[in-house]
Symmetry: C2
Subunit: 296 residues, 2 copies
């Protein structure tokens, strides 16, 4: 509609080297350039049935596109807008004092990010495109103004922020309590679920991130991630071929707490302590199935 959608990419600080891709497909042409409120709610997965919301057809939100490797925002940059992923994959990261990246999330379709910038008015994290992305730009002022007009929408804003908080709580719990195997398993399951939500296959998909990024996200090294995937493959839970993952036994992945002592690891254990007989030894955190009362 409008003529202003030129603004293709606002690439700030020099992204790695990704100049020169003239023959790149026309990602600028693809995808929508504006969304109305109804579409916004739809992608956010929040009910937007209210007549007033649907009626607001002329209120539009601009889309912005980013290419693989480009930064959407950096740490410390003045905050002015939130983003919703319309298509594509990203990562958000924190940078520690040594320059090491710590991955916080992998936003994909329907996810909101940038919320951490509200408090200090500067983004607290950095968002990077892992693929070409189409994002919906949500100027914060515009958003809150809208919330005042549509009460239902206001609640949705709070709700989505709350959802993010709950997600991070689950993350903390996972990092604090689960084994490497359980973390990787849950990561795969959550990816699988997200793909299903987006209409892709939940059984066969491609990872958009490196082992290093997965490891950072899960609090593990890339070698441990790689080994764990290989182990899952060996016992038939999944198939792995580089970035391609096939989910073979979703149920087992969902409930996995520690790898069964058999399989690949058995040989290792056997060889290492052939003489020493370690009896049963599986207490406390327990094998996959174990009921426990107590607590508190």
């Amino acid at each position: 509609m409008s003529s202003t959608q030129i603004l293709p990419v606002r690439t700030e600080s020099t992204p790695p080297a990704l100049n020169a891709s003239p023959l790149e497909t026309g990602w600028q042409r693809q995808g929508k350039l504006w969304s109305n409120l109804r579409e916004l709610c739809e992608v956010l997965r929040i009910p937007a049935s209210s007549a007033s919301l649907i009626a607001d057809e002329e209120l539009l939100f601009q889309h912005v596109q980013f290419k693989t490797g480009q930064r959407i925002h950096t740490i410390g940059q003045p905050f002015d807008a939130l983003y919703i992923v319309h298509s594509g994959f990203l990562k958000t990261v924190l940078i520690d004092e040594f320059g090491n990246e710590q991955v916080l999330s992998f936003p994909m379709k329907g996810d909101l990010f940038g919320v951490d910038g509200i408090h200090t008015r500067r983004y607290a994290s950095e968002a990077v495109a892992l693929s070409n992305c189409d994002l919906i730009l949500l100027p914060f002022k515009k958003l809150t103004a809208l919330g005042r007009i549509h009460l239902e929408f206001e609640h949705s804003i709070y709700s989505v922020m709350s959802r993010e908080l709950v997600r991070e709580q689950a993350m903390i719990s996972m990092l604090g309590a689960l084994s490497a195997e359980a973390r990787v398993a849950r990561f795969l399951v959550s990816l699988s679920d997200r793909y299903a939500d987006m209409g892709y296959s939940s059984r066969l998909f491609n990872l958009r991130m490196t082992r290093h990024e997965i490891g950072s996200y899960l609090g593990l090294t890339l070698e441990t991630v790689s080994r764990t995937l290989s182990a899952f493959n060996e016992i038939g839970l999944i198939t792995v071929d580089q970035r391609s993952i096939g989910i073979k036994d979703p149920e087992a992945l969902k409930t996995l707490r520690r790898l069964p002592p058999s399989s690949a690891r058995a040989k290792q254990v056997a060889s290492r302590k052939a003489r020493q007989q370690p009896r049963e030894a599986s207490q406390r955190s327990g094998a996959p199935c174990e009921a426990f009362p107590t607590a508190v």
Copy 2:
């Protein structure tokens, strides 16, 4: 920053008569204390200078009291209100499928909790009083309605939620990247800072939580927490006597990444590998004080 004014601030003295204690669900409303908007903003540490806010004197928020060990809300309980800590100490926890607690936070004066209930309309975590507590009850509907009247206050709501999100991001980063020693050190520093904010001594204070709870919060076992505190004590960073902590070297605690190879651990290392000469061994994560060399 005293909240004197109108309010008789009772530092956690046992509230008089609390009818028995169903301990579950029921929060005893003592209904004696009320805060207006200005006081609310004050305890939340957000600017509330706007005339309109101060003017709203008759809009009052109810306080509720809880005794040590009581639950403010439990997981799955219908959500209707947020809480701000006016005085006292609490913990929020997640309960896993085996009934094990995972501590998420230790709310104290000025902290907001209950936000995780907005999304599903049920609390996603459980809040338990670690001491007698005086909380400000914030009915969610009342809160959002107020935000619509006072724009400045509306922004504050978003801001405080954002602050919580940033806090959790920092937590994730810590769990994913730091050693046990660094986690404990940072925990002590953050406690010290909070005590200072509240007007207590930042150098000498009492822990309100057990080693087990600290360990759960930091993703460690209680033994590791205990040992780490003992080690800090041995090298003079702190003094420890049960729940009483004295901060001796705040700067060292702030920058600590891993314990210097000397001290208690030295003897252990020495005895264990007397013959094998482990060179300097301080690469990568580096010793306590280390300028930022490379990285990235």
